[in-house]
Symmetry: C2
Subunit: 447 residues, 2 copies
């Protein structure tokens, strides 16, 4: 190929591509999520990115169908997965006989949606999901575990000031039935869902326009105004005096879940029952969750989910109730970076750069192998350039330690160890080298 006809290296719009330091930070966050999910006993699942279009479009419609990447290969009508829930439903149906229930699975993988590209929206993005799927039934303690998992993930990211908002769809649904407004429930929930954004006055007006009588609107607002995470909140719900079985079940579920969340050690300032949360109108049937970083409310919910009655009705007759959450990591990462809530560190995992200033490779290579055998990430910079350039390389990447091996060091059986952050330099033997390098604490990615 001629020197003049080069192919443009542009990445498609809506596709994230990171430089090394950011990629390392992104991967650290991904690893944190994985570690927490496994600590709660979830099993990894990795389904194909490509499925038969028929499988993925079973339930989809409207926006999803327009956004999906669909194509043919040979005679096959194919599509790229647009979430991790539909593949889970297909997987559980297919492998039903080989799975043990409750089936606890996590999945961390890329999904694809051809959305109109705009800031913070991606066409290829990571979802990090967990679901607990029961066969026939699934106890309420699964609902209580979810906030504990969310709490662990965001704490380990380094955040302190976040709130997991919890509600139960049965309470709001039961409320409308109890108030004789069952017919308007779906529309009303959609209006309430905007409460945070548009304010109570607008919601009140719109609920009136739905044809709800002023006393009904007043009771609805009284309910959606409630917040709390202890018995007092539950008492306030009972005090609304709603005569409906679904409402009562919802309140009882909330009471049980709140108690268990406390036992699981989630601090009171990190979770709240918020009766205005109505998310996931069609799918969720019980507990619902969203998570707000209080210093960055403009990001919206960073982890959401809820309880559903039946995972896989399109693929199987088995009744598969479940509860799950999802973290949209690509968007979260982008927005946290934009907001300055996370900072990337070194552009390499390397902790030690060995710099030989001698021709014989033996000592430098043996030292590198020794360091690696002790799980210390190590590089050797052999190329015939000046020490200055090798130190600049370490500096640019953020390598904390450089070990220089010259003729003097060889003769003395020592190394010159340079701490790149302090600039301090000293002669050390192998034992002292390990002591110093190991003493250094690792620094996490968080805020």
């Amino acid at each position: 190929m001629s020197k003049h006809e080069k192919i443009p290296t542009t990445v498609l719009s809506g596709f994230m591509e990171l430089l090394p330091a950011d990629q390392i930070l992104f991967d650290q966050m991904k690893a944190t999520i994985q570690t927490v999910y496994e600590r709660f006993g979830f099993v990894p699942l990795d389904t194909p990115v490509i499925e038969r279009a028929e499988v993925l479009l079973a339930k989809a419609g409207g926006e999803t169908e327009k956004q999906i990447y669909r194509f043919t290969k040979g005679d096959n009508d194919l599509a790229l997965r647009f979430d991790l829930t539909v593949p889970l439903a297909r997987y559980v149906s297919k492998h039903f006989g080989h799975l043990t229930f409750p089936f606890r699975r996590y999945a961390i993988g890329k999904v694809y949606r051809g959305e109109r590209p705009q800031k913070g929206r991606f066409r290829e993005f990571y979802q990090c999901d967990i679901d607990i799927v029961g066969h026939g039934e699934l106890g309420l303690m699964s609902d209580a575990e979810i906030p504990s998992i969310i709490y662990s993930v965001f704490s380990e990211f380094g955040f302190r000031n976040f709130t997991i908002r919890i509600n139960n769809r049965k309470v709001l649904n039961g409320l409308f039935v109890g108030l004789g407004a069952a017919e308007q429930a779906a529309d009303a929930l959609r209006i309430i869902d905007k409460l945070d954004k548009v304010g109570e006055e607008t919601v009140e007006k719109e609920l009136g326009e739905l044809g709800l009588a002023p006393p009904v609107v007043a009771q609805v607002l009284a309910c959606t105004r409630l917040r709390g995470n202890d018995e007092a909140l539950i008492e306030q719900l009972w005090a609304l005096n709603i005569d409906n079985e679904l409402f009562a079940r919802g309140v009882e579920e909330l009471a049980t879940v709140v108690r268990a969340i406390t036992y699981l050690g989630v601090p009171p300032n990190n979770f709240i029952v918020d009766l205005s949360i109505a998310r996931g109108l069609d799918y969720y049937t019980g507990t619902v969750y969203e998570t707000i970083l209080n210093e960055f409310p403009e990001i919206g919910s960073v982890c959401s989910g809820g309880r559903y009655d039946n995972l896989a009705e399109y693929y199987t007759d088995e009744q598969l109730p479940g509860v799950g959450i999802s973290i949209g990591l690509t968007r979260l990462f982008y927005q946290l970076k934009q907001a300055g809530a996370i900072q990337s560190g070194p552009a390499t995992p390397t902790r030690v750069l060995v710099v030989p200033m001698v021709a014989d490779a033996r000592v430098p290579l043996e030292l590198a192998s020794l360091l690696r055998a002790h799980n210390i990430s190590t590089e050797v910079y052999f190329d015939d350039v000046k020490v200055k350039r090798k130190l600049a390389y370490a500096n640019k990447l953020g390598v904390p330690y450089v070990v220089i091996i010259g003729e003097d060091e060889l003769a003395a059986g020592t190394y010159t160890l340079k701490d790149m952050r302090s600039g301090h330099q000293e002669q050390v033997d192998t034992a002292r080298l390990f002591d110093i390098i190991r003493a250094r604490e690792d620094i996490g990615p968080g805020a």
Copy 2:
């Protein structure tokens, strides 16, 4: 949807989907590869799965072009990546000014090839690549590091009996030039590449048919017969008396690389210079590698790669020499399972199943949180079923420990700990519980 129209849950042919125990094993192998790559100072890179077709097809042709998944979305001519090298070339060209050279990157991700499906061939599969890319030049010590990385990966998989085969393309190319057979070199190398499969007699015959004189064929075979991993082998190469500069450079490179591999601690029985290895005819220009599991030779090479002169000529004028290897993990996993070389273990990461036989959730949940805070994967089985069924659940998944909490235990402030492998059961307090659980060694996936 009616109970009778269910959508078939078939997975596309050529796409691997694993049950939990196998998925855990697969992920352990993937994590081992990642850990080793990072220990050698490689930076993670995660490029989009979808690229503009023009980018991916820059160099492709023939088979690759036929196999590629290509489709349009809106006005865009798109394709799924078929390897991780082309995206690396595009990435390095695009971000050249932001990278530090030598650039050491690893990438572990899915790639797509619409090959004719057959046993052990996959259309979606993981590649696990590393490359060291220099700017302008790249020293030979990078070539020497590669076998040390391969050795670490396969050792940590649990294998002992494997051989990393090394050669240098300059030796064979120089040999043919030196013997006055430069014109036949490419064809001859393709014949030699089959030596392992077809035997020396066939190769001799086919080399003759190329028009090489019998003494030339004899010298070629004398060279390709050479094996060794010390100075003796290098002496034998010099003794061939080939008067060619390229040949001489190749032998010198081999000598340097072999010495450095030894310094890096790769045992002599795990690597060999094998002059018959000719792989990667078009692309590689120096050291080449392949890796054989000696007990499973039918699998072929499980890790291959080599040195190349210029990574990204289609995208940039910068000269980017490099050296890299790739592990095709999906195929490797499938074949190791088929051969019985790896066995899956538990179907869960859970180490402790807490089994409450009391109504109050406090103590079981607090214990679960305590175990999790100490990084011990824990589940709580709350549902109102008999103990027997809960133990069966633990058994089926392979959970090693069950902690039963009944009224007696609550009263005494103890737990009943059951070791599911031995069946042994004892009353323990919290300290003893942790002692027992922590004493258990983790078991790796290897052979």
